[in-house]
Each structure stands twice: as C-alpha cells, then as structure tokens.
C-alpha cells in the first residue's frame, strides 16, 4: 500500500537534500552582456526568510521544467533575507534563469560547499584577484571584509574583464573606489580609446599592487587559465601556496557528492570546494583533462 503523499516542502531543510524549496525572484538587473543578477527571496514556511551563507558558497537553482544549475551567491552575507545570484546566460538553464522576472518561482537548494577562508584572512593583507564573472563569488567576501575592516590589513582588489562593457558591478566598484581603505585596480583585455583605465591581463596588476607578501592571503576566482597565471604571479610576488586560495568550477548535478560529476582528482568540487587552498590542488591544476 502506498504511503500517504508527503506534505509540500517548505523552508530550507527538506529531509531530502535533492528536493528544492521554492524561492521567488524579487528583482532582476543586467550587469553585463548576457549577465544578470537576480535577488531571490525564500518562501516562508518556517516563519523566517533568512538564509545564512558563507562567502564563496553556492546554491543549486532550478527553473521548473527546465533544469538546475549551480550559481554562486554574490550578495551580502549580513543580509541573509535577500539571496543574490549573478548568472551568465550560456546554456538552456542559465538562459531560462536569466529570463525570470519579479515574482517568478525558482527552486533552490543550498547553500553548498566550502567558502573563502575569512577566518584565516584576519590580521593579514587580503589580495583579491578576480577575472570576468569570478568577481561574483568574491563579492560576499568583500562585503565581509568591509564590515570588519579593522580586522584586516591592506585590502587589494585586482579585477580583470574582457572589455569595459563586461565589468561586473561597475557602479559598486566605483563606490568602493571612493573608500580610502582599499586599493582597487581594474583592467580589461582590450578597450577603445574612450577607456581611461588599465588595459592588460589581470596578472600584470599583481606585481604593481601594494601588499606584504609575507603577511598576505590571496583569494582568486576566474577562468581556470587566468587563475593559473594569477597564481604564478602571486608566487612570484612572494606568496606561498598555503596563502593562495582559488575557487574551482566543474560540472555539478547534485552538490552533495552523490552524482560524481565534479570530481577533480580525489576531491569533489561541490563538497570539498569550490574554494581550495592552492597546495591541495596544485598538482592537478597543471594536468590536462583531469
């Protein structure tokens, strides 16, 4: 005899980690060509809209009837009522996700994964190297650094994008620039003559930046090739492998170590990462097709 159907799942802790709860789009804005930021709100149920997460973690977002993709949280961890995700529309699901508007339902599982080493960063200079969409998972770390500014040494944000149009969170970066307690350098791979900022790859900014390599921690996120070059430059500046952290990307279907897709040698990127200390994955980064 079939058991009675289960009650509808609400809130964030369903008994089955593969079952999403239902969130709603509150706001949607365009950040760059093909890149959209969605503010989500979790449906009530447990009487709270709070959804605590750590910088660097990600959620699995479902467009009902289309599919599910991992998207990193790009909002402020101190505002857990508003879940911010920045999505690049590059596939069927992310494209459908980027087309959602206010009020639309989104399936949500998470938060998953190990985030940025915010505790280890205390008392040290923090060098953030971001490339392209890689700024999105680093933004929560920046919010947290700003919120506890006195706890850290120098903060350096080095950000590379393809062209001036592709710079994410542009107005926000401009407002951060007005702070006097952070060094921000933005570079693009190429630009028209209207652009007054840096042109060149993001790694060239590393040697120019002002930080103490012996007391610095680096957080790196971007395309894998860019991260490899950035890590080379950081080590050249004097950082050791235990002070460099990077966020990896792999195919993910479950986010909890069941589906096997995100394996990177011995680690599951979803469960053991996505943020790894460089010395833990160093030997694999140079290998092809691991």
């Amino acid at each position: 005899m079939a058991p009675p159907p289960e009650p509808p799942v609400h809130g964030r802790t369903p008994p089955d980690p593969m079952v999403p709860c239902v969130a709603r789009v509150r706001r949607r804005r365009r950040d760059a060509p093909q890149v959209w930021t969605l503010d989500l709100e979790v449906d009530g149920g447990d009487g709270t809209k709070n959804f605590p997460f750590a910088p660097g973690q990600f959620n699995m977002l479902t467009v009902f009837g289309v599919g599910e993709v991992p998207i990193s949280l790009s909002g402020d961890p101190a505002k857990p009522g508003c879940l911010v995700h920045t999505v690049r529309a590059v596939g069927a699901v992310s494209d459908a996700l980027a087309r959602l508007g206010p009020g639309d339902p989104v399936g949500l599982r998470g938060p998953f994964g190990a985030g940025w080493p915010m505790t280890e960063a205390a008392g040290r200079d923090v060098v953030i190297v971001a490339g392209g969409l890689g700024l999105a998972p680093l933004r929560p770390a920046l919010y947290q650094l700003f919120a506890g500014r006195a706890r850290y040494g120098k903060i350096v944000l080095l950000y590379g994008a393809r062209s001036p149009d592709d710079i994410l969170f542009r107005r926000e970066i401009e407002s951060w620039r007005r702070r006097l307690d952070i060094e921000i350098e933005v570079t693009v791979d190429h630009a028209s003559s209207v652009w007054h900022g840096h042109v060149g790859v993001v790694t060239t900014l590393i040697s120019r930046a002002d930080f103490d390599p012996l007391h610095a921690i680096a957080l790196v996120c971007g395309p894998e090739v860019m991260m490899r070059f950035a890590i080379t430059a950081l080590r050249h500046s004097g950082l050791d492998d235990q002070s460099i952290y990077l966020s990896m990307e792999r195919n993910m279907k479950c986010a909890i170590g069941f589906c096997g897709h995100c394996q990177f040698g011995p680690v599951f990127v979803c469960r053991d990462g996505p943020v790894f200390r460089h010395d833990r994955v160093q030997s694999l980064l140079a290998l092809k097709e691991i």
Partner: protein, 373 residues
C-alpha cells in the same frame, strides 16, 4: 543454534526459506536466467533459480553452459548487480505542481516494498558496503538509497567456483562472505546429496532461519563447505597486485599506457553500468506542455560520456584517454581518498562486459611493468 554454529538446509528447506521471506512481506529477488545471461529479478520459487547452469567468462566474453549437476548457484556474477534495486537506474526525485499561486514541490515517496536479496556474493556484499559509504556515510544521506537499503534482507552465497574474470582474492573481498549479510549459504553438491550449509549473522537471519526446517551441520559438512570456498579462492581467473595501486596510478597520470588503452576503449560506458560500485548519476527535468507540472529524475550516468564533465564551453575530459583514466584512477585510487576504501571489489564484470575485452588487471600490470623499464 547460536551464530557460530552452522546449520544445514535441503533444497526444499531453501524453498521454505524463500516462502518465509515472502510471507514477511519481502520482495524476493535473486539470480535467474534471461536473455542467455544470469540476471537478478523476482524469484517466485527455487525453480526460477539457474539450476544446472554455469557461466564461462573472459575479456569481452560471457556464455551460459550446462553443468553436470543440479547446483542452483554454480556460476559467478552476471551483468546485473544489486545496485539496480538499491540505487535504481532511473528514479524520480520529486514532482512540482504549478498553479496561479506558485509552485508546490512534492518529494518522491519512499518505496512500499522491502527487498530480500538471494545469492549475494562476497564481492557484492563489499560493493554494497562501498555504496553505503557513498550514500549514507557522508554529511548528506540519500533517502532513496537508505529507504531501499535499511530493511533489505540479505542471503549471501559463498562462491562454489571462480569465474574467468574474478579477482576478489586480490582485492580482499572474497570469495567467502564475512560480513554484511543476514544468512550465508554454501552450496555443497556431492555424492552424499545436495545441501546448503547456512551461517546466520544477524538476529533477523536467526529469526527467519528458525521458521525453516534445518538441522545442525556435522563437522564433515562444515569442512566440506569450507573446502568449497578454499578451492574457489585458489582458482581465481585474474589477479591484481592491489596494495600499492593508489600510489602507482597517481604517479602515472601521464603514462603512455593511457594512450594505448584509449586506442581500444570505445567509451561505451558498459564497465560503469555493470560495475556494482559505480554510483554516478545525472538528472533530467521534464514538464508537460502547459508547464503545470514538472519533475526531476535521476539516471545512472557514466564518466565515459562527453556530457559528464561538460562546463560551459566544452568538456573537461574530451579525449577517451582522459575518460578511461578518470574511471580507472577513480575506481582504484582516488576512491580511497574519498571514501577510505577501494572502489573495486574484483568482481570482473568490467572485463567480461567490455565489448573489446579491456582488462583492468592487465592495465594495472602494464603500468606497473612500465616502471620497471
């Protein structure tokens, strides 16, 4: 009878045992002949078991042939493994109903059946224990696996012969069932008759056995059962030097042998489908045309497919070399890092069911030999 003592069942006793399980509400599944292979399916009576059959196995080769006796378990493992019941090939995870108000997500209910597995081999008990670690041993638990696994009743069978591709002795996973079962049978067919020497390992096993006519085993019968297993252990079809294979493979990720095997591998994924420990899955969503209902299903997937490692822009493992390497290094090496155990139980299915007969033991040997030169 206490657990240390062994009992003896007759063939009729085995039928009564199956009946007792069915009366307790179990869905009884076990080996049966279908499509010229021994597969696992529902067993109504001992007549469904592959009586008088054995199998002949080698790289890319599987044939059923008749035996000279009436043994019910006189073969090794076929293309199926018990994961098809515990970790179904296709499983709906949830469904969602959409109305004007929003979306209601309903988790897939637990199955309303519990399994009794008949004829689980020692390597397969190890395979189940390995999947237990994957689905039950971490921070997250797979409720679907747990629902099927927790109430399963397991009758093991100690192998009466080794198959041509078996290497459980090398992997320390057999041929004698040592843990993870409720009852374990050793089939003894001889001049003095056809009996099953039974060992009970759990209270559930003892309780069921108590409902079945049996007697205590004599010393001679116990010895005969033991020698069956000893003989099997001595006649393994394959061998793999496994104690250092983790380091061996991880220091040989760029060994030219991967190119060699890539020349032969068709990336058909057969090895992953027949492997009793391979657990990878993908998900797919579907909806009706009006999008009033949608659902997500989970399906066995394989690291041999291109889609498996797809990230926007392309597949991480585009070459067959890298996909074979991923499968084998995961199975024999990184599995240990992830779950504290090898992912290989030496059952030989991947060798038998490989259409081109790629032999995992041979590939390990070739990499090992390459270091000698």
């Amino acid at each position: 009878m206490d657990t240390a003592q062994q009992a003896v069942l007759t063939i009729d006793g085995l039928q009564i045992l199956l009946d007792a399980l069915r009366q307790r509400g179990y869905r009884v599944v076990g080996p049966t002949v279908r499509d010229q292979a021994i597969v696992y399916d529902d067993i109504a009576s001992i007549d469904d078991l592959p009586r008088g059959w054995t199998d002949e196995q080698d790289g890319g080769h599987y044939r059923l042939i008749g035996r000279d006796d009436e043994a019910l378990f006189g073969y090794t493992v076929g293309p199926h493994s018990w994961k098809k019941f515990l970790h179904p090939p296709l499983l709906r995870l949830w469904s969602a109903e959409h109305d004007g108000q929003g979306v209601r997500v309903v988790a897939e209910p637990d199955p309303d059946e519990r399994f009794a597995f008949i004829g689980v081999r020692s390597c397969e008990l190890h395979a189940i224990a390995i999947q237990d670690k994957v689905f039950l041993g971490g921070a997250h638990v797979d409720p679907h696996y747990r629902a099927r696994r927790q109430d399963a009743f397991i009758i093991a069978v100690n192998c009466g012969q080794a198959g041509g591709t078996c290497f459980c002795v090398s992997m320390n996973t057999g041929p004698k069932a040592k843990a993870g079962f409720d009852l374990a049978l050793t089939e003894v067919v001889g001049d003095s008759g056809h009996i099953f020497v039974v060992e009970a390992a759990t209270d559930a096993g003892l309780t069921v056995l108590a409902e079945v006519p049996h007697r205590l085993a004599t010393q001679e019968e116990a010895d005969a059962a033991e020698s069956v297993v000893t003989q099997t252990a001595a006649s393994m079809g394959r061998e793999m030097h496994s104690d250092d294979v983790h380091e061996l493979l991880l220091r040989n990720l760029e060994n030219p042998r991967w190119n060699d095997v890539a020349q032969r591998c068709l990336t058909c994924a057969n090895c992953t489908m027949v492997c009793p420990t391979c657990f990878c899955t993908s998900v797919e969503d579907s909806s009706d045309l009006a999008r009033a209902e949608s659902s997500r299903s989970r399906r066995w997937d394989s690291c041999f497919t291109m889609d498996f490692s797809y990230i926007h822009g392309g597949s991480v493992r585009a070459s067959s070399r890298s996909r074979y390497r991923q499968w084998m290094t995961h199975k024999l090496a990184t599995w240990l890092d992830q779950f504290g155990t090898s992912g290989c139980v030496g059952c030989g299915r991947c060798i038998t069911w490989c259409p081109v007969g790629i032999d995992i033991t041979e590939e390990v040997r070739a990499i090992r030999d390459s270091e000698q030169h």
